[in-house]
Subunit: 457 residues, 2 copies
């Protein structure tokens, strides 16, 4: 610990001394739109990033994909040192609706200690902080403490359609010891967070057609099967009133949380009454006895995203609908895969309502890095060194991101260490990043490199 | 029998002799639009009818209601004779879409033995046939064989909103021994039909709101209750997979069919394969073992008319919907009433999903006249006399009409004796009435009066 404390202190001093210059340079960066959904500015910003990386002494280039290019950079210092792959994305969400922005989305503006701009939090401010962490090491010590790979994607905001393909094709160039992503927010209390996993997802549609046309409920009620009832009864066999998924075989393989994961969850802050008040909930979803984080981390969930069939207008219409559909997603925990889940749902539908059409839609694998990974402790120490407080350790989060490309395709431990404030308003008007969060992010990135550099391979 | 056969033969001859004139007069009548939904031509046509009735020597007038007026006519011949109340409606459906009519809806046109015009079958041609039946009796014998009341409504096509109120207010003027309605179609084989009842209906909506806003299924799946799941599980408690309504207490009072009703049903023709082919059915609705007519006549049915909640667009959207609603109707058999059913559904919802809002909509009582009514046999004989074949006797039909105002408010037996061809296309473009059906209707009406006239009170 002592051998890294000394250079880090100098690096932190350097970061503080360059605070205003770093902010100015970040504002220059986010001034350039790079909207993947509109294919706007992608090539220009990718080119800028290659320039930034080369200034850090990295080999850097854009690598084409079937979609927008990846930006890849590397700087090796020693085969005895670990290699960290820093992942981020340089594309941003479209800024609409423009009229709700206080200042224009691509004219970064500082108000009350925050920079307002599209992409400032998600994700430009965060990977720019990583870049500046490298730069600060180089400025103070003349070298990097460990080997560093940068992978910056240009399609994250449109669902990362090519990252798995890219990672498979370039696995040799992506050899590393761990992956660190800085994206998303700190805890709403401001506490730092380290996340070890994400849930996967398997989305599908169920379609019922019970007759060639809608009929009159008086003339045919009791005679013609009703497509809505068909789906209601099918759904009722898929999840019971107690909230348990009852699709045969689906939940059996689920790996229960480890003791480390359970301990971590017990240490997470939780204000259930505040959550219920904010969302207008009278109760949590079934099952009643399940812990809040258990619901989001350790169990698959079957959500009906939409159910539509028959008459939806005002008053009554005595129609018996012949067609209906539901859209569903199942959030996946280890070791569930979309293929496994689709097989189970297909078999369940075949058994309970063979006339219903099952249509698999998107899928994404879950990802989880063991909490006793040898990198967990250096990461924790880095956060403490940079911020002076212990990070909250999330075994996993409820949402789905393509982290599996790192853990499952590359076989690497992968961690998310977010830098943005919880109210960053990403994907929304007036996206912002607190300058303090940006500076703390640079320090966290710098401390992370230092901690990794203290490890031997 | 013999004393009525002779005058009837002369009356039938009169009808045949006046065939063309009757058709011309019917075409003149339907040329006048009387669209209740658009409040178009109502007063004019009601006035024409009063004129027609007065020419038959009836006391006739329009009687105001809170909506469109009723046309009421009466001619009493003897207190020793029964009084028949002939019900019909002079309003018609809107003719849209006009472009699908081969000839304009209010320019009656004969093609291939059919008159095409809006309202020709539903219901002007049918009550005009009843008028001509009276006229023919008067022309041949100089008198009517029984007392006759006419009640012609101007709001049937908008749901008869004021008929119950009217019948309650004018019960003294509507004293009769039976009610006969000529509306709807003959059997598709062309066979005549006599119907003794209708199912009632109770329509309602169920609304679920589980949170103050939709949330992301990843970030909140398993935590926030899903409005669609709430309604799915509630509905699944209301009707089981075997098709049985499981709302507590709802079906218990249902009166099973009488032996007469069961015998009548067994004599009804049924081509199940043709029905299945026409509607594209692979099977009838559950329960599997229930007879076709049992489904429509002797059991309540719970139809979901529509179910809507959450995302309905293309592809996937990982949303967890906080709002959803279903619209349902329950068809009622004796002795179920809308109030009884609403009470049972309300209590069921309160027990199984108290957070779901129950909203009662429209309701209509069922109606049934015993098949051993003393008027059943004279009616059967009248049909045979006019048409030479036995009528199909329907204990009840699946749909809902306000016949209860006659059976339950006035306490009268009520019968439906339809005159129109099965492919009359009522409520649709190219509505039509076969001239042969119109003429047979006049004869049936005439025979009915003769049969009733042979009875003593």
């Amino acid at each position: 610990m002592t051998e890294i404390a000394s250079p880090l202190a100098g690096i932190f001093d350097h970061i503080e001394a360059n605070r205003d210059a770093f902010v100015t340079r970040l504002m220059d960066y986010v001034r350039h739109p790079s909207i993947s959904a509109h294919n706007q500015g992608i090539g220009e910003v990718a080119g800028m990033l290659v320039g930034f990386l080369r200034k850090l002494g990295m080999e850097a280039e854009t690598v084409p994909t079937s979609g927008h290019p990846m930006v890849l950079g590397r700087r090796d210092v020693s085969p005895d040192k670990p290699t960290v792959l820093l992942y981020g994305h340089y594309d941003v969400q479209p800024p609409d609706p423009l009229e709700l922005w206080t200042s224009p989305p691509f004219e970064p503006t500082i108000r009350d200690g925050r920079i307002y701009a599209r992409g400032i939090g998600d994700n430009k401010g965060q990977h720019f902080a990583q870049l500046l962490a490298l730069e600060s090491h180089l400025a103070v010590t003349g070298d990097l403490p460990c080997n560093v790979l940068f992978l910056l994607e240009g399609e994250e905001e449109i669902g990362s359609p090519h990252i798995a393909e890219f990672v498979r094709a370039h696995a040799d160039r992506l050899r590393a010891d761990l992956v660190v992503t800085s994206d998303g927010p700190l805890h709403e209390s401001g506490a730092p967070v380290v996340t070890f996993g994400v849930r996967g997802v398997a989305a599908f549609e169920l379609r019922a057609k019970t007759a060639s046309r809608d009929v009159h409920s008086g003339n045919f009620g009791g005679v013609v099967p009703n497509a809505v009832w068909t789906l209601v009864h099918l759904l009722a066999t898929m999840k019971d009133e107690d909230g348990e998924i009852t699709i045969e075989g689906l939940t059996e393989p689920v790996i229960p949380p480890t003791n480390l994961e359970r301990d971590a969850v017990e240490r997470l802050p939780l204000d259930l009454e505040a959550i219920k008040a904010e969302l207008g909930l009278s109760r949590l979803d079934a099952p009643a006895g399940r812990g809040y984080f258990d619901r989001l981390m350790f169990h698959p969930t079957l959500t009906v995203n939409g159910f539509h069939g028959g008459y939806g207008g005002p008053g009554m219409k005595t129609v018996l609908p012949c067609e209906a559909f539901v859209k569903c997603d199942i959030r996946l925990v280890e070791p569930l895969t979309p293929d496994y889940v689709f097989d189970k749902v297909r078999a369940h539908v075949q058994k309970h309502a063979p006339e219903v059409e099952f249509v698999p839609l998107n899928g994404m694998l879950p990802s989880k890095t063991p909490m006793d990974s040898p990198f967990a402790e250096p990461i924790r120490r880095a956060v403490v060194a940079a911020r002076g407080v212990e990070p909250l350790l999330y075994p996993t989060v409820g949402g789905s991101l393509p982290d599996y490309v790192f853990t499952k395709i590359l076989g690497l431990p992968a961690f998310v260490i977010p830098y943005a404030n919880a109210d960053e308003a990403n994907h929304a008007p007036n996206e912002n990043l607190k300058i303090a969060c940006f500076i703390d992010g640079i320090k966290t990135g710098a401390a992370l490199l230092a901690e990794l550099g203290a490890l031997r391979r």
